[in-house]
Symmetry: C2
Subunit: 138 residues, 2 copies
């Protein structure tokens, strides 16, 4: 069981207080977060720092970006064993039209998609919208 410090160092991310806090925040959240979500959680720090921190996390492959169609970029921790850097994100994302939360459905892989002759598929973004388990009411 690695500490967060060890994890960050293993990815060549220098450990700072802010980065530890942001990482912990992402762990606690089980949903994808926006930059503003992080901003509101840490009123002390500056948006730019948060922005660059999350970008660093993304480049180093511990966070992935999610475009759920709301127009606001969201981020979530990669699951262990995920290698976004190399191959692209394979799981689907679910956006709830009620509570407005977006979750990674990491257990639900994206099926093989056929494209016409001459087209070469490199990666796929699949977003399902509807009602999440908390909002579907049963």
């Amino acid at each position: 069981m690695k500490t967060i410090e060890e994890l960050l160092e293993s990815k060549n991310i220098r450990v700072t207080a802010m980065r530890l806090l942001i990482y912990k925040f992402l762990v606690e959240k089980d949903v994808a977060v926006t930059l503003s979500d992080i901003e509101n959680a840490f009123e002390k720090s500056d948006r730019t720092t948060l922005y660059r921190t999350i970008k660093t996390f993304e480049e180093k492959g511990i966070v992935h970006q999610i475009d759920d169609g709301t127009g606001i970029t969201k981020y979530a921790l990669c699951e262990k064993g995920c290698n976004c850097e190399i191959e692209n994100d394979l799981h689907l994302h679910f956006h709830c039209n009620n509570c407005n939360e977006t979750v990674c459905l990491t257990a639900h892989k994206i099926p093989q998609i056929k494209v016409p002759d001459g087209f070469v598929a490199e990666n796929v973004n699949l977003v399902v919208k509807g009602f999440c388990d908390k909002c579907s009411g049963h």
Copy 2:
């Protein structure tokens, strides 16, 4: 064979010179266009008019919006028989990483997507990225 005027009227869209021009522009293009694309094609008219025209087309169900992940909204004509108003768009979209164009693959329907228990899927956005037929080089 309906004229464009008849088509617009049948959808309760008042016929104006600008609307005819924009409609024709969309027909000629075989790819999804951004608002700026339209803006550049008609330097005479105002962005707001173009914006509201395309929104009108969208509301009336002759155009659908495409979020291809570039962060810029794109639009394309609905195919005949398409009823976005009622059901959601079922076909997939392809975004070329080389020429940056996005096309509707109307013949390629989105497969049935499984979601976990408790989740209710209402609609799906599926975007495939890679190289289009013009750019894949063969």
